[in-house]
């Protein structure tokens, strides 16, 4: 019984290799996804302080007015001033709250409970040299929430936030920006030193206050601009001249090669086979459409027939090309280079080499995004399933047809093969066999 289940060595190798390949590519996707998940989950938790105070690079050309280095250590007088300031802020908030509650309703749904002004463990996140750890450390105080609430509308936000001054990695948080910058900075430094129990920063509560550092913004917009430029420099006089020179160079290379005539490279063969695979899929679909169509009159039926004939001709051409490629591989290329060569570039959509340029995909709800991602995975999975189906068909059907006797082992094999080929290995059929009646 067992021997019926075993496959020939050659088939085994190929089938196992293909399935392992499929498993590996799945595993690779999973790994990448896990990596992204780790990062995202961490961002949505409370942000931890960095372990050590990283020594900060000197601030950029736009330094702040105060001497940065000395600003860390608060004096007792500063502390006192800080207390006064804090109390003033608290009062302001109470007043504002009263007003806003009366009039405005919920203007800032994102600013939920909790104090905004506390910075997370920012001690380390912020360089001690630059200063806008906005009124942050006074965790107990009622934050100027009211102030912020009324200014949440997007266009106002940039002014509300204290800009990072020259330092690259500093995080900006907004707070009572009504105070003049320099004055507040002093107090903020003091605040951070004096704070006892910093409230953690969560993206949910305070994400809206974030601002990207200046240096980064500049580099990012320059980056975007350069990519757009690069992908658009396609046509001009000098480009044509260069193309001509390149063609000429390639021709010269060919004639000095020492081989007669142009040869196909392994990469080109691979690419052509991929094209043929795609064509095969399209042809199969079209054929399916024609076969399931319901012609109403003889004219439609005739048209259907013509289409099928045409498809047959194209299939013939594709097969012919495939045979040619086989010959090329056997005769010219010698033994196939071992292992998988890295796909140098997979032209997306079969067009010319695409140069990346910034493009956007807009979505409006989480569900929409999930649907999109799920469909993408589904399409990828279907591609894989179709490929595996073809491989299984090629290896298993001959196996079934070769074995003649209709005994139980063969039936068991048939059942297994049926399950793999027709049910994706998920379901099994039942075989009823009539026993010979005892005489």
């Amino acid at each position: 019984m067992d021997t019926a289940f075993t496959l020939l060595a050659g088939s085994s190798r190929r089938l196992v290799a293909e399935l392992r390949d499929a498993l590996d590519s799945c595993a690779e996707r999973q790994r990448q996804l896990e990596r992204s998940l780790r990062v995202s989950r961490r961002l949505l938790r409370a942000w931890e302080p960095a372990e050590t105070l990283a020594p900060e690079p000197t601030p950029g050309p736009e330094t702040n007015e105060e001497a940065p280095s000395a600003a860390c250590i608060p004096s007792p007088q500063d502390l006192k001033e800080l207390e006064l300031l804090t109390q003033a802020l608290e009062k302001a908030v109470r007043v504002r709250k009263g007003i806003s509650k009366a009039g405005e309703g919920n203007k800032a749904p994102s600013l939920k409970s909790g104090s905004i002004a506390t910075s997370p463990a920012t001690r380390a996140s912020y360089p001690p040299s630059t200063s806008h750890r906005a009124g942050s450390r006074a965790s107990e105080t009622k934050p100027p929430r009211g102030i912020l609430q009324t200014r949440v509308p997007t266009k106002d936000l940039p002014e509300r936030r204290l800009l990072s001054v020259g330092d690259q990695a500093c995080m900006g948080q907004g707070a009572g920006a009504t105070k003049p910058k320099s004055g507040l900075r002093n107090e903020q430094i003091v605040l951070s030193a004096a704070s006892q129990a910093p409230e953690a920063f969560t993206l949910k509560d305070k994400g809206i206050l974030l601002q990207l550092p200046e240096a980064f913004r500049k580099a990012a917009s320059r980056n975007s601009r350069l990519w757009a430029q690069l992908s658009s420099t396609q046509t001009s006089d000098s480009v044509d001249a260069a193309t001509t020179a390149k063609t000429q160079f390639l021709q010269k290379m060919q004639t000095t090669s020492g081989w007669p005539g142009p040869r196909l490279s392994a990469t080109e063969v691979e690419a052509e086979v991929r094209h043929l695979q795609k064509a095969c899929l399209l042809l199969r679909l079209r054929m399916g459409e024609e076969l399931t169509a319901d012609p109403k009159d003889w004219m439609q039926e005739y048209r259907c027939l013509l289409t099928l004939e045409e498809l047959q001709a194209i299939v013939g051409q594709c097969l012919h090309r495939l045979r040619e490629l086989c010959t090329v591989v056997e005769q010219q290329l010698g033994p196939w280079p071992e292992g998988r060569f890295p796909r140098a570039s997979l032209p997306c959509g079969g067009g010319a080499d695409p140069i990346w340029s910034p493009q956007l995909l807009l979505y409006s709800s989480t569900q929409e995004l999930q649907t999109l991602a799920a469909l993408r995975l589904r399409v990828a999975m279907l591609h894989q399933q179709i490929h595996l189906e073809k491989v299984l068909m090629a290896e298993l059907l001959p196996l079934v047809s070769k074995q003649e006797p209709l005994g139980p082992p063969w039936l068991a094999l048939c059942r297994a093969v049926h399950s793999l080929l027709c049910e994706g290995g998920q379901r099994f059929l039942t075989i009823l066999r009539e026993d010979k009646p005892a005489d």
Partner: protein, 366 residues
């Protein structure tokens, strides 16, 4: 237009500078690019130029390696890898394969190889695209990479003997399980992305983006990582700039490589055009008859941007459109899979034979 033509009459001093400047741009845009002087030495086949060029070709032909990873390959391994890669891509000259493996010779041949790679396609741009810094949360809108590779997969170590078909069934089950996991993880990631995007809306200086991406938020959470990201970005900007420079100046490089026009060049050019045209015609035919070529669809990774419901939004693809396209793709693929399975069912039924053979009871749920 007129201005460009006037510029063609350059004075000799400019001409002398033009080549080194072009090569400098090339060298700056490629990873591990050697100096223009090394290029010049290579053209005269000076031995000291060879190692640098082997290293350059290795980096160029193995872009998937991380920046520091090439150091773990010995010079011999790099040489062999370069030879294999060039042979795979169809490098036409035999001389390269005959160069010694220790990497001590071959400057001139390597320069030819580099030029050959450059002539066949936009190499600097392709390299930059493959290793670019991703600032946004990206999602490809096509599944081009999903098409299973037709090449022979790497032979697995243990599949020497015969295999039980039940092992195959087990592997299929394992595969199904992995896909389910993948689906679940993907859904979770989308949910998290949705949250991060909405919690940071209004924070981005670029209004068309509106909110921050994971990378951008991460750089705010982790300033050290942020600094590294910034450095990578700046390096990429320098290389992008150099690529643009190279595009402007490369003509003088090609004139240097070719060294004078031959009489056959126009014939070669027409022949090439014709061959390409023929190749594409067959494919186009297949595509057109098939009813819907994938060329029409958008491709490549797109940055995700969350918009407020009802807001018109700026330029960019809309998710519902992509969903529509994917749904029809899914439907088409399902049809193909069912067709194949149906074919198998028919074939197996035929092989088993008509009654009075055994009766096959198909599983429920059809």
């Amino acid at each position: 237009m007129g201005r460009r033509r006037r510029r063609r009459r350059v004075d000799p001093a400019d001409a002398a500078r033009a080549l080194p400047e072009a090569i400098a741009a090339l060298s700056q845009t490629l990873p591990a690019g050697p100096s223009p002087e090394t290029f010049r030495r290579a053209k005269f086949d000076r031995p000291e130029a060879a190692p640098a060029l082997w290293r350059l070709l290795f980096r160029v032909l193995s872009p998937q390696l991380a920046d520091g990873a090439s150091a773990s390959f010995s010079p011999e391994a790099q040489v062999r890898s370069v030879k294999l890669a060039l042979r795979t891509q169809g490098y036409p000259r035999r001389a390269l394969a005959q160069l010694p493996d220790d990497g001590s010779q071959g400057g001139r041949e390597l320069l030819l190889a580099l030029a050959w790679l450059l002539a066949r396609g936009p190499l600097p741009e392709r390299l930059l695209t493959q290793n670019r810094v991703q600032l946004g949360d990206e999602m490809p809108v096509c599944e081009c990479e999903a098409l299973a590779s037709p090449g022979p997969p790497a032979p697995s170590v243990e599949a020497d003997g015969c295999v039980d078909i039940r092992h195959l069934q087990w592997l299929m089950g394992k595969l199904r399980f992995r896909w389910r996991n993948l689906m679940a993880s993907q859904q979770e990631q989308c949910a998290l992305l949705g949250k991060i995007h909405s919690y940071t809306r209004g924070c981005h200086s670029d209004r068309s983006l509106g909110h921050l991406s994971v990378t951008e938020t991460e750089l705010l959470r982790d300033p050290e990582g942020g600094r590294q990201l910034l450095r990578r970005l700046e390096r990429e900007n320098a290389r992008l700039q150099a690529a643009l420079e190279w595009r402007r100046r490369e003509l003088v490089f090609w004139r240097w490589m070719v060294g004078g026009r031959g009489p056959q060049w126009s014939a070669a050019r027409t022949a090439l055009r014709e061959a390409v045209g023929q190749d594409l015609a067959a494919l186009r035919q297949a595509c057109e008859r098939g009813g819907g070529c994938s060329l029409a669809q958008p491709h490549g990774p797109h940055r995700l941007v969350r918009t407020e419901a009802g807001a018109p939004g700026g330029p960019g693809l809309r998710a519902p459109e992509v969903i529509e396209a994917l749904r029809s793709q899914e439907a088409r693929l399902e049809v193909v899979l069912r067709q194949l399975q149906g074919q198998c069912r028919q074939e197996l039924a035929r092989l088993v034979g008509a009654p009075p053979g055994p009766v096959w009871i198909l599983p429920p749920g059809r």
